[in-house]
Every structure is written in C-alpha cells, then in structure tokens.
Subunit: 386 residues, 4 copies
Amino acid sequence: MAVTPTPAQLDRLQIEVPSWAYGNSGTRFRVFTTPGTPRDPFEKLADAAEVHRHTGLAPTVALHYPWDKVDDWDALRRHAEDLGVALGTVNSNTFQDDDFKFGSLAHPDARIRRKAVDHHLECIEVMHATGSRDLKVWLADGTNYPGQDSIRERQDRLAESLAQIYAEIDEEHRMVLEYKFFEPAFYHTDIPDWGTSYVHCLALGDRAKVVLDTGHHAPGTNIEFIVAQLLRLGKLGAFDFNSRFYADDDLIVGAADPFQLFRIVVELIAGGGYGDPDVQLVLDQCHNIEAKVPGQIRSVLNVQEAIAKALSLDTDALAVARRDCDVLLANEIMMDAYATDVRPLLTEHRAAKGLPENPMRAFLDSGYLDRIAAERVGGTQAGWGA
Amino acid sequence: MAVTPTPAQLDRLQIEVPSWAYGNSGTRFRVFTTPGTPRDPFEKLADAAEVHRHTGLAPTVALHYPWDKVDDWDALRRHAEDLGVALGTVNSNTFQDDDFKFGSLAHPDARIRRKAVDHHLECIEVMHATGSRDLKVWLADGTNYPGQDSIRERQDRLAESLAQIYAEIDEEHRMVLEYKFFEPAFYHTDIPDWGTSYVHCLALGDRAKVVLDTGHHAPGTNIEFIVAQLLRLGKLGAFDFNSRFYADDDLIVGAADPFQLFRIVVELIAGGGYGDPDVQLVLDQCHNIEAKVPGQIRSVLNVQEAIAKALSLDTDALAVARRDCDVLLANEIMMDAYATDVRPLLTEHRAAKGLPENPMRAFLDSGYLDRIAAERVGGTQAGWGA
Amino acid sequence: MAVTPTPAQLDRLQIEVPSWAYGNSGTRFRVFTTPGTPRDPFEKLADAAEVHRHTGLAPTVALHYPWDKVDDWDALRRHAEDLGVALGTVNSNTFQDDDFKFGSLAHPDARIRRKAVDHHLECIEVMHATGSRDLKVWLADGTNYPGQDSIRERQDRLAESLAQIYAEIDEEHRMVLEYKFFEPAFYHTDIPDWGTSYVHCLALGDRAKVVLDTGHHAPGTNIEFIVAQLLRLGKLGAFDFNSRFYADDDLIVGAADPFQLFRIVVELIAGGGYGDPDVQLVLDQCHNIEAKVPGQIRSVLNVQEAIAKALSLDTDALAVARRDCDVLLANEIMMDAYATDVRPLLTEHRAAKGLPENPMRAFLDSGYLDRIAAERVGGTQAGWGA
Amino acid sequence: MAVTPTPAQLDRLQIEVPSWAYGNSGTRFRVFTTPGTPRDPFEKLADAAEVHRHTGLAPTVALHYPWDKVDDWDALRRHAEDLGVALGTVNSNTFQDDDFKFGSLAHPDARIRRKAVDHHLECIEVMHATGSRDLKVWLADGTNYPGQDSIRERQDRLAESLAQIYAEIDEEHRMVLEYKFFEPAFYHTDIPDWGTSYVHCLALGDRAKVVLDTGHHAPGTNIEFIVAQLLRLGKLGAFDFNSRFYADDDLIVGAADPFQLFRIVVELIAGGGYGDPDVQLVLDQCHNIEAKVPGQIRSVLNVQEAIAKALSLDTDALAVARRDCDVLLANEIMMDAYATDVRPLLTEHRAAKGLPENPMRAFLDSGYLDRIAAERVGGTQAGWGA
C-alpha cells in the first residue's frame, strides 16, 4: 500500500557531515589509527567532499573549534568551495581545557564561566569568517558525585552564560543547544533532556533552538515523540544523527535500530521539518573501527533510505485507519512503508542526477583510500584532540 | 558533620495518602485479597486516619473519582473530619470506561474527548463538595503500536481538551498534570516526560502545575535534577511518591533506592519546595502483597526519615566545598547527612508531640487489623475498579 | 547481494500459537472486552485454527492449565484435529492461587511447594491426554522487597521442586524452563536470566531446556547473543515470541524492533535451530486493544518475513568479509538481507501452496469476525483468569 | 533491631586496590592530570600503601600488565613488602595493541588469537615473579555492528583460547574471568553476562572462577541475585567494586547506590563468601576528577561501612519473619541494619587497632599529597596507556 516518493521530494534531503568524523576516534580504552587519516582541516574537507561527490547528499561540513582552527579562514572557505562543499555549523568545545575540569558555562567560578563565554565569542568570530549560520553548543558540564555542586545554581549560572553568548550572535545566526543524558559527566549533566534545552531556548529567544542528538536519551525513550513535540513547539533546530545499542552514541546512524530511524523521519516529515532549512540534519558520529569516509557514505545513505521509506507512507490511508481506531491496519500501513525496498528507486534517482548508482562501490573503486594512505605520510593525524 | 534538624523544621512535613492504597491491588496476573479490606470510601478513610493518628504526618486523603464516588459528599467530608483528616486532591479516571480504549482527552473522536472533558467537569463538581484544591490529571492516553495514531495530532487534541477543563476550575483550584514514561500504553504515552507536562501547563496558565511521580521515568533518569528544574521554573505542583526497581512503579517509597529519595528531598528543600503548600507531597502506591495500613505507615515514615536526613545536611560547609571544587569533601558532606541515623531524633520528636514513639509497633499492637478483619465481612472489597 | 530462500527452506517454519491470545487480556488498569471473544477452549481452538488455515504456519496450539481445563481432553484433542491443528505445549500456572501469593515452587512453606509440584503433576497428566511433548514452566516466583525472603534459599527450594517435577515427566517429554527479568515480582524474580534457567536445566538433565521469551530481558540486552550461546550449549528448548518497547512484553512480535527479530532468527538459523523440532517457536502475546485473530495472523507473518529475510543472507560472502575484518562490508551484507522486501516471494510461496496470497485480507474478508460476534453471545468471555 | 558486629567479624575484611587507580584516567573526551600522579609502578605502590596505612583494609595491590611492567619484578615485590603491602592479581590487557582492534582471544585470525594467548602466558610469568595467585581476564572483545563477525564462532574461538591459557596456570593459580555488558564494544561483547563467564569457567575447570564487576550489568539487573547464585554454584572468584549511575562504571563504590552495595554484601555474607580468601574483593575504579589516593580511601571505607551494616543484620529475627511471610517485618529488619550508623563502631574499631580514627582526615593532614606534588616533577605521569 506504499506510495512512491517523487524526485522532488527526494531532492530536499541535505545532510551536514562533521569534520571530526574523518579524524581518529575511539574509546577511553584506545584510539586506533588508520593510514590516510587527515592531518588538518583542509584534508578533512577533502574527505568530506568525497561523500558529497558520490551521494549528492552532503553539501556542508560542520566544524569543531578549536579542533579545526586554521590561520586563514578564507582559505579554508575557498578550499571547501573548490571541493564543491560549504562550511556549516560551528561547534564549540568546552571539555578539553584544564580549566573546564569541573564545568564551563555552569562552573562555580565566574572567571571560568567568563572564559567559556569568551570561547563562544571566538566561535562567533569564526562564524563571521566561515559564513556559518549556526553556533552549536554541546556542554560537557555536569557532576560525577551527588553533592559535588548545586544542580540548581548550575542552572542559573548556565542561563546567565548562555544569555551572554546569545546576545552576541547576529540576526542571521542561530544558537542551537544540545542535550545529553550522560557522559562525560556521570551523575548529572546540566542539560540532560529536551525539556531543559527547551526552557533555556525559550528564555533566550527565537533564534535559540534545540538540537536533538538521536543517541542522547535514556533507554526506552520514544525519540520520535520528542521530534513531534519540538516541531509542534517550533523549537527543533537540528538533528545530530548517529546510533547506539546501549551507550556510546556514535555508531552509524540507522545501524542499531533502523525502524526507530524510520519512525523519527516519519515524524520529521509529518511535522513539516523535512526540507525546512531551519531543521538542520547533521551527522554526529565517529568511526572507531570502520573506515571513515565509507562510514560516512553509509550513514548518509542510511538516512536517505529512511527518508525514502517515510515518503512512501500512504498518509491518506493512514488517516482513515487512525480515524477508525483500526490499530492493526494503521500499523500495517506504517510497516508497509518501512518494508518497502527503496534501493531500486534510489539507484534510479541517482542515475537521473548523474550520480554513481552505487555510491559505496564507486567510492571504494575510485582508489581514493589508497591515494590518501600513500600521500598523507608524516604529520599528526587529526583526532578528537586536534 | 551533619547538623540537627529543629522540631519546627520537622513539623513542616505533611503527606497526603491515597484512598486507593487501602483497597486491593495487584498486577495483570492477579489481584490478591486481604481480610479487612475496605468496602467503601468511608472505610478507606477510616484506614487512612489510622496512618495519621499514629504518625501525625498524613492529614489529608486523596480521592479517586469515580472509585470514591458517594451519594453524599458532605457526609464523607464530615466523616473525614470526625476521623481527624481532610479530603484532598481529586484524581480523575480516564482509563476504565470502554470508550477510552484508544484514549480520552487525546482520542481521535471528538465525542469521546468531550466525554473525557465532561468527566473532569464532574470531578470539579466533586471538588466543590469536598473542598479539594487540586484536580490531578493522570492520563492513560497513548498508543501500543507505531502508526496507530498521530503523535502530533494527539498533542494538539490534548492541549485543547486540557484548556476546556482548565477554563472550568476556580481561582482557588489548581490543575496538576502528571507525566508517565509508559503503561498502560506501551509504544507512546501522550505525556511521557516532565517537558511535555511543563509545556502544557505553561500554555494553560499559572494554576496548572506539573506532578512528578517518582516512579514514572526512564531508567537512569536523574529525578532530583527534574525536581530542581521544576522548582526553578515555579511549576512543581505535587509529588507522587513510590518506588520501583525496574517497573511497576508502586512499591513503598524509599524501598528501592533510599539514597535517591534522599537526593530528591535534598533538592526539594534546597529549592524552597519543602513546607510550601504549593508543592503537595502525596503517596501514590499500592500494596499488592503486604498489609496496606502498615504499608502506608512505613511509607510516611520513610519520607520522614529522608526529610530528617536532608535537613541534617550542613549546607554552609557544603557551599564552601562546592566553591572550592572539592569533589570528595562535597560528596562526603552529602553522605554524612545521609549516613546519619535520624531515628532516635524522630522518636524523641514524636514523644514530644504525644505521638507513639514507634508508630508501626503501636499500630500493630492496637488490634485494628484484627478488628477490621472481623467487622468487614460481606460486601465487595474495594479495588482499582471500585 | 541477498540470496533467494528456497521453498523447502521456507517450509520448515512452524509456529505454535497460544490459546490465551484469543481470550481477553489487558493491564492492571483495565481489561477491555471484544465481541466474539471465546468462552471456552473449544472456541479458542477454532480461532487458532483460522490462523493456520490462512497462513499454513501455525499447526499447533499451546494450552494453559487450568485456564484451558476441560472435562473431556479427548474431545478437545479431536476438536483440534477436526480443525486441522494439534494441541501443543502445556503451560502451568503458579500465580493465581491464593496460596501462591508469596511464591510456588520456591515458597518458604513446604506445603505450598508441594501443592505447586502437584499442580505440575496434574499438567503432566494433561500432557498424557493431549499428547503434548513439552511442559512449560514459567514461574511468577520472586519478591517485591529487599529482605522479604532469602534469595539463596529460594534457589535451593526451587531446584528441589523442579527435580520432583522432572522426575515425573516421561522419556518423550521435555520440561522447558522460562526466565523473566521482572513482573509480577518487582524486586527479584527467582529465574531472572538465561544463566539461572540454564544452571537449573543442567542440574535436571537432558530433557530440561531453556525457554527464551524475547520480551523478558533487561534493556539493552543482546538477545541474539543468548540465542547463539544456548544453541551452542544445546540447551535452547523454545522461544516465546512477542515484543515490547520498555515493558509489558506482550506486543506483537516484530512490532517494536523488527531488526532485532531479524538478528535473532539469523542466529537461530546460523546455530542450526531453525527447523529443528527441539527448538520450538511459540507466540506468547496478548492483544489488549487490537483484534485477536488478526493480531495472531500478523504475528506469524512477521516471524515468516523475518525468517525469509534471514534466509536471504549471503552467508558465503559474509564469511569472507568477516575473515577480512571488513566491518562495513559485513554489516552491509547483513543489511542487504534485512532490506530485501521478501513479501513478493512469500506471496508467491503461499500461492504455490494453495494458501491465500494475503492471509490478513483473506481472513478479514471471510466474515469470521462478524460470525463469532454474532454467535458467541452469553457465557463468560475467556481471559487470563479463565 | 540491628545487632552489633564483633571486632573479629570486622577484621575479616580485606580489599585489593588497583594500581591503575593512582594513575590518570578520564573519558574519551579528556584525561585531566593532577600534580603528584605516579610516574611508575613503584610510585603507584607508594600511593596504594597509604590507603592501607590509614585504613588497615587494603593489604594487596592488583597489577595491570603491561602497564605495570618493570625490569626487576623482585625489586617491585620487595618495594611492596617494604611499604607493608603485597602484590596481588595480575590483569591482562587485550585492548591496546593495534592487532587487537577487532578482538584478541576471539579474533577471527588465528595468529592474533595466538598473540593474545601468548600475552597471557607472559602474565603467568609475571605471576611467578610476583607471587600472585590470580590471573584476571577481562576481555574487550566484541563487535560494533550487526554482522561484523560471527557471535557463535567467536564463542568457540574464545573457549579454545581460554583453554590454552588455563592449561598453563599452576595448581595454586586461578583464572578469574570477568564479564561486561558493553564497552568498548558496542553491539555485542563476547562475555556479556555472568552466564557466559560461568559456562566458560565450567568448561575450564575448578580453578576458573567468575569475576563480578558491580558496574557491568544492564540497567535494572539485580546484582545481589547473581552474587547469591554464583556463591551457590561455587564459582564466584572475585568482585570488582565500583559504581555507576548509567554508564561509565568507574565511580567510587557505593557512591551511586549505597543500598545496592549493602544488599550485595548481605548476600556475600549469607552465602559464605565474606572472609573467604577464594572470593577476592577488589576495587576497580578510576578517579577522573577527584583526588586519587583519597578517592581510594573513601572507597575502602564505603565497603567497610556496607560490610558493618550487613553484619548488623539480625538474621535470626529475619529468618522468623521470612518463615511467616511477613513482608513488611522482613523488610524492616533489613532496613534496620541498613539505617544503622556504623561509623562510631568503626571509629572505635580503628582506635583499638592503632589506626587513625578518621583515615581520610589523617591522610589529608599527613601532607602526603603536597609532598608527592613537589617531588614527582618531570617524567611521564602514569595513565591507562602506561
């Protein structure tokens, strides 16, 4: 009973890829390395551009500051343009300076909060140079032990710090505020849930929006509900896509629970968020043991397949079944869309656009991985610390 | 390093007990019965009054409508007064009418939503008769299967239904809105988290407040954070106390994780909610296999002990340790309060007030249980359905 | 890269359906009723036979004792045969007698343990009459509060009780022992995990096997791992299929996480359990709000689709990718099988066997639901208690 | 109703501390450093000896190989003896060599499995030099993506590798085998649960025992049940103590859920494991943001308090209440022990043994932390990688 998505519908998909996905990453136990890993932001962009070249889906690249700090931002911007991509969201970093051991924007010490605010003002300067629209704030702030700091006072300090940053973004900028259930703080995090991000965004103003990272929820959380609710409230600013079984939250999107990803994008479409530039779709993943560029290609394809399935949903028939409280029929209509094998359609769609029919094969056959392994010798491979 | 709570501090504690705790309850597998179980609301109140008589902590009794429906509300009110207690919150019931199989306030069918709204208007009538301040809305609404109904549209319908009810409560009334992670709906619930309850309350107005049921969260949720946040936002209307290990949420408060209960009441006190009549403390429990009146006595004593421990916290020393980012010292100060055996202090406090030093022993020795077992013969024992 | 399953491979699938799925069920909040619900085991069998008639997949029906007690077991057996199905596993019931309030086979009181053992001996008598091979033991035993009973002593008592039952089963019988993470006991259950069921089965003997109920695990548990492990140990006796998002465990199999179901049956096939009569596939579900017979049809179709996808797995290519530690390729091969739309193949397969191409439509069009609603008037609808 | 533990009972407590707790640790986001952090195993031992000097509870130190590799093991052993402690369990490391990116003992490649086995043979050599009894095997093995490798074949390879190691341990040695629910592998781990560790130990022989790490379970798991079960089966070899709220598993033992710790040691005592040298109590923690030596002192004190509370349990009264199925009384007896403030008793006990009454204060006042901060300048601070 599924319907067929139109090319125009499929064309609305754009996914931002993260510069840090191309560097090394790992766990607290070990960061394994790979030949060919980029040594600087220019090489990261080159890798990211391969994803877009083969899929047509990833036109922008998110930056992490100061990991992606360069002397000449214009050069980086031109480099991106030459590669056919653009610079995207600027992500701040409040978790690697020794001063931030006990927090940043919510730290008990006003001097350190000031330093954390100033870091964000630097990020805003970067946004001017890169032409980025969004400043993404993900905080590592929190505590590890009950009593360690005042949960309540940290909220008040956080609100004040955020207000100072928000006051400095331009009219065309947005602040997007992420929440996370746990880690690296293990007893409490200062923005643990969508409700907390939402109330801070509400206090800040219209250009503050919530970021929903699909991996940042308690077990059993119905994430598509949150998508629906935030769209309803007009406060869903961006997605960070990834997946997880229990924790770590950085597996390939759709790898752990593809049906959940489908349900999420069904609500995205139903709520008008799909194709809306104000709801930015971003990958936030790491590839600890798998190849990085192919890992990113797989990720954007997974999102594309989920979107195509969701667009196959027969919403008219569904509305009738829902009106009739026909539980099994409504579920069947949903599952019909999910069960549809959209890969032939997507292959055709790519062909029509002059893209490789099988982006993964095309990339693997291109020799790019061998080339960078041969060329990128010496220097320091980029990772979460650089 | 713990400090000693004053009698005046201890005296601020008041806990509302639920009428339904005295009736039979169980699981979907079986409801076991006990001799002496009340047959009507009058007998429930008699049992509830025993809790207050022995502890001095439980002066009001929450009602559930229509479970506690009587012909003469004045008679019930006078009966309560004669027993030394008062009638409290009125709880609506939107989960036992056949019409509510697929929802009530969020149902797809306007006729059924109207019926559910009307049920709440009846509850408001009861509030006039009982002198209750709070209308508590806990919804069973939700779905069991993906696709079954529109998550988004249900939110909109819910908002509209709630507004119709809110429009009818008096100036001195409040609507308190509960959230619940799961059950009896198993795929999505229409008010699954504090954020959702909060945004509805915000839309409704000042007299709409969030109810935090301690058992209604995803695993790993930091509940004391939510307490702190809702107090900060001025929107914490009431607690439903109970506990759970995994699920069911109706074990005796403090039985599963007494340290969590302690942390919750620490935040309650820190945020100014303790002793504030606008933050109502209520038990919401069931006693499937243990004796009911003693189960309630244990519950109010558990809350009292947690409060006394929390009042023992040396907040001055804690503020210094927090300022210094002395993680271990701050945690130690917290744990010192928790480790304090407050039972001797509470025994003394009760003696000074003419209460039994050991309320549990005093009740068990009173012969009340034997008396009701002998007297309450015939009739239909009250349960969740009556 | 997926391969195409052969008809012979598809034909090995047989799923036992539970008699209790056709009766009313619900939650502790409410059991909703439906017109046409069976009033006795004969009517339950009639409903179950519809599932087999339309799908060809459900040739046997599990019984629950004493819910399905009849005066004349031979008549029931013949009735089943007339309907084209057979009687299957006999499930004992140790959770609805008042004596079992605090446990059955693990109860502190020897008299009650004896009674629980005797109940199982009665079940064995039933097995003689019905020709059933398997005695399924799912225990509700456990405690709600820390300290309530000795965890250790309960294990010893349980072992002794199980040994008494095992001693009485025939050579051609099996005892299959289920584990469950929680509910109806909420602090501890006496057989909470596969390890505990396994050690008891090991102590009992070769004809004692573990039952894996897909809904009976802690959040995040990798269930396919347990399948692989139990097959490796030769101790997987049966599946109880169903699904859940958080808890209740009785949603339609595959409804919550179809990819998990796929992974489970992939391990079932890889470990040699598929088509092995010693690994019995059973549904254990309830249909609280959806129509029951169609709910069962959907369930067996969901299992069939998962099996067909798993049979599509290109295991040769997978072996190579695994040998090469090519993470992305191995995962892609897995996902290729999963992404395959097997419904056309299954439609064709059914046609070749003279079955309805769309069993659900065929059943709904048959008028059976209207007929039973009209015919089954009066009497008491069957439910979990009858 | 609690009873008072005797000095002899308290004296049976001995806790092994981990050498790695004194080095730097952190999360994948950041490892923060502290002045005074040890640069080598000799300095680690010096720190560990402080814990024992002040508490009298930590006479042995677990080693991690090759992190603690030294040229002269005799010198290390004598150094320990001079400091009043002894060398304990040797922990292997199968997660930091590039070859182990896709596993070690369960790796698809026989060469790498051989390398991992050889690493353990080296550990056994170390045990000869250090006089250690236990070889602890915690495996990082597992996969991140469905399909990545064969769950089943990895079990078989693992069994074979373990057998090769087990064959080489001496008669007076033991192999203790740890399980872990997740991390660093995120889809499946090769020893995820006690059942899996148990079946491997069973296959290996009497000197193979299970290690229960308190932080390595799914949410909601009843850990004390596993303690009781493994003691019953005679297969509990060691504890790794720590705590967690959701994940990371390396917070201070008793910090997250002190009541759970109490319940665990109640079962330890009830099952005869307390004071039994065959059930080794070990800390396995890291101190990411708190001071390390004091963090370890707090940890052993937390265990000591939990033990003292558990020893306060009135087991005679409890047996009666359990026999009577008096749920509330049995729970009350349990909670009475837990509510007892055992700190005065422990202060007295320490005084009688010539230990500091308040070990934490005594240590902080000793100037040790300032001294090592001044002395340990230059060199490379020890961490998880060294």
